[in-house]
Assembly symmetry: C2
Homo-oligomer: 497 residues x 2
């Protein structure tokens, strides 16, 4: 059964004095009014961590009561930071099953009322426990991915920084035009480069902000002008170090493949997209993983203006997570609300895209291990597809080897990537140097370097010595005697260093 969208609504994102249920009720009311409905068959609630952010449980029932719909079935759905997209998928199945006709999808998060290091700690719980205990945060892991991306595609640091700044500037410029965005001011290269270093090389302006906000959407089996064309969803290993690649997300590729297949659309049919830019580089990687640009070339589309609001393929016309704000549970649904506004031609004079018949939303859960891709399209226009559907998208996804607790205790490795984290979570000293080290047997380890306080002291690709201290791996410069021993051993066996 086909599924359509009959109403949308969202609150202005930012810092709110209202409670989570109040802001979510506001979004729900707007969507219900938009759809001219006063009751629904079921409610699906997306919220990532209401337990720790707000201290409530049984939130789905509370919300049904708050919006005056006590009695209506209400279910909470969660897929980490892609929750807004996850709850949409779940509600989609409910309507597609034919058992429910009108379903309210409602997602939100309340985050700004807590101190930042507490929020950082709560957000870090999406990271695998084995990596979290090193003090790894979302920005820290994203920073290591950014450095690795630069090295893999031969982008020197200053070039990488320029690329990142351009994502931030583009999305902030779009945010200016979005009355629902948290930030409505342009930023200059100077603003970007002067902003605080969070986790080298990522600055404050590389990271989506902490935000309160809610979005709502009504799904129905009755035809409306906007139709759900395709949905894809995939996970990946919990630990980042177990992934086959650090510069692309398998879970995005798999999810995209499924969404294109369900919709019978090609990446080249996508006219605009909302891409999960929790960190600036993730927008670049996202557009590559989605098949919109070739691997390593996503930044070129940006440089050449293609992904700008008036470009050939606008990315994040809403301002993205970067400028609209990132209430973690709500973002995935807010992306879909933007898609609907664009598809309906209701995005407002300044922001409205000319070509808006097929839009894509891409949402990342955790550090890229619970991702969703959703395709919406106008149901009342005939599809114009160049060569028909040929699925010109065949992503190479590599599955990581089955992982066991490592038997590694000490030895030599190569520094694959690293970061120096300045905004550490509750309980960790700043700065905190972390790196992924590849051992000689090919295993990737997360390790810290307590002796290093500056990124200038480290270089990707350098050989280092790793050992275990108090249950954590520590990487350091090779001591002289080890370097000598290694040189001697290699010489004896005829290997040139």
């Amino acid at each position: 059964m086909d599924v359509f969208i009959s109403g949308v609504g969202m609150t202005k994102f930012g810092k709110s004095k209202d409670s989570l249920e109040q802001i979510m009720a506001e979004a729900a009311m707007l969507a219900l009014r938009d759809a001219r409905l006063d009751r629904v068959d079921a409610i699906f609630i997306g919220v990532m961590n209401v337990e720790e952010f707000v201290g409530d449980s049984n939130f789905a029932a509370l919300l049904a009561d708050t919006i005056g719909l006590a009695g209506t079935p209400s279910t909470r759905v969660e897929t980490a930071s892609s929750t807004g997209a996850g709850v949409f998928e779940t509600a989609f199945y409910a309507v597609a099953s034919g058992h429910l006709k009108n379903v309210l999808v409602l997602a939100g998060e309340k985050m700004t009322h807590l101190p930042t290091n507490k929020t950082t700690r709560i957000l870090s719980e999406v990271i695998d426990r084995s990596e979290r205990r090193y003090g790894a945060t979302m920005p820290a892991l994203a920073a290591m991915i950014a450095q690795k991306y630069g090295q893999e595609y031969r982008l020197p640091l200053h070039k990488l920084e320029v690329i990142l700044s351009r994502v931030a500037m583009k999305n902030h410029a779009n945010g200016v035009l979005n009355p629902y965005a948290q930030f409505r001011k342009k930023i200059s290269p100077e603003d970007y480069f002067k902003s605080q270093m969070i986790s080298f090389p990522l600055r404050l302006y590389d990271c989506a902000p902490i935000t309160d906000g809610a979005a709502a959407l009504l799904l129905t089996s009755d035809p409306t002008p906007v139709k759900v064309a395709g949905i894809g969803h995939a996970t990946d290993t919990s630990a980042v170090r177990h992934r086959a690649s650090l510069t692309s997300f398998n879970s995005t590729k798999e999810a995209a493949m499924k969404a294109y297949r369900m919709a019978k659309l090609n990446p080249s049919d996508v006219q605009f997209a909302e891409v999960h830019d929790a960190f600036t580089l993730f927008e670049i990687i996202g557009t590559e993983d989605l098949g919109l640009f070739p691997p390593g070339k996503g930044w070129k589309g940006l440089e050449e203006g293609e992904t700008h609001l008036r470009g050939k393929l606008p990315i994040n016309p809403s301002g993205g997570l970067k400028a609209r704000g990132h209430p973690v549970g709500a973002s995935g649904l807010a992306q879909l609300v933007e898609l609907v506004w664009q598809l309906r031609g209701e995005a407002g004079e300044d922001r409205q895209l000319k070509r808006a018949e097929i839009g894509l939303a891409h949402s990342i859960g955790g550090l890229g291990n619970n991702n969703l891709v959703t395709l919406l399209e106008r149901s009342d226009r005939k599809r114009v597809m160049a060569g028909g559907w040929n699925l010109d998208y065949h992503p190479v996804t590599k599955v990581a080897a089955k992982t066991f607790p490592t038997s590694f205790s000490e030895g030599i490795g190569k520094l694959e990537t690293f970061t120096v984290l300045y905004a550490t979570p509750e309980g960790f000293r700043s700065p905190l140097t972390l790196g992924f080290v590849k051992t000689e047997s090919g295993e990737r380890l997360l390790a810290c370097n307590p002796g290093c306080n500056s990124p200038q002291e480290l270089k990707i690709g350098k050989t280092c010595f790793v050992n275990r201290r108090e249950g954590l791996f520590v990487f350091e410069k090779m001591p002289f005697w080890r370097r000598f021993k290694r040189w001697f051993k290699r010489r004896a066996s005829g290997v040139s260093d």
Copy 2:
């Protein structure tokens, strides 16, 4: 599209040394093996509060990885203590939509590792904030409902206690026969009456225990001998005091109505049921709300042996939440696993029911405000229904009036029901006396009574004086001068007291 069950599995419930993901992986493996599957199209994870019990977030993706299915879409679903049933419903829609063929439903909770008062505090978060701040816990609210039930159906305290003890004894006797149950010992009336008073009149043996455990189930669109016949789901007001009735749950009645309708079955067609007995009386109320017994008569079915394992309508052949244990997120799914075992004739010689073609599971979320009813049946047997489907079930559900913040500040009221809570949550002094008071304008208030330490001091129906102190309502005996004033006023207006 019809939905069938192809595999089930669960862990032995109780205190486990393993982590939550380990016990859930164990249940998943058993279900996958039972269904002879090694991959699925999606995973739906039910867990109530992994954030606070375990300190993890992004749990759906973690679990997919733990069971060796990294890549597979994985979504977490939650409806408070009915989560196991809620995740089943959500997964049911996904398969019924035709988009997914084989889906793993997996539910669990890990609770025993925390101190009891912390667990009590976490569990209390399902209660509306306005009632939670009085120190109201689940047992406290259940105790007030029990007292009200006794008063409404004219059961003196000793009779009520005998009824409660019989539920506990029946379910413990069934638990002896269930190798997966946490408690496998019979209890005597002496054991029951000697057990610690938790919240007057509920004793330890009236409350389901704190448990670790996981259950798993595979849904498929390929026909198997067990079919999902019907599912119903409904919520109710968040605050208990806003409910129209205190002695039945609207949400159960609404959910049951929907489930019977989808299945085209009557309550009289149900051959056995797993009923949410988190508190002994809830089993009695449950069987009434489900239409299996008339209101106020549920305890008679028990007294006459009808609901015993070898009775006409066995209730909780597994031992129920009471004896099998109650890992909050898992219980709803564990009930369905028991249904499947019974329907397949695999429940084991001692526990296997003779008539097991149609079974019902009933799960309560929070204090009765997010409930689900599920009907499973043999798909390979012809239904034998006495007079065809006539839906001989027309529950009276009353919707509470729209609620606003109360304007009441002080005045006279009637004590509707009360409890003295001994096992108080973190931060509350024991004992704690709580009561529902109905004001002269008909509004129900939750109030405390700091001066009262014993249930003997109070009586349901008594007039009391309520005022507000430090933001909380307090009820007390009517002071003499107020009684006099009231008597005088009434006399003057010709009202007899």
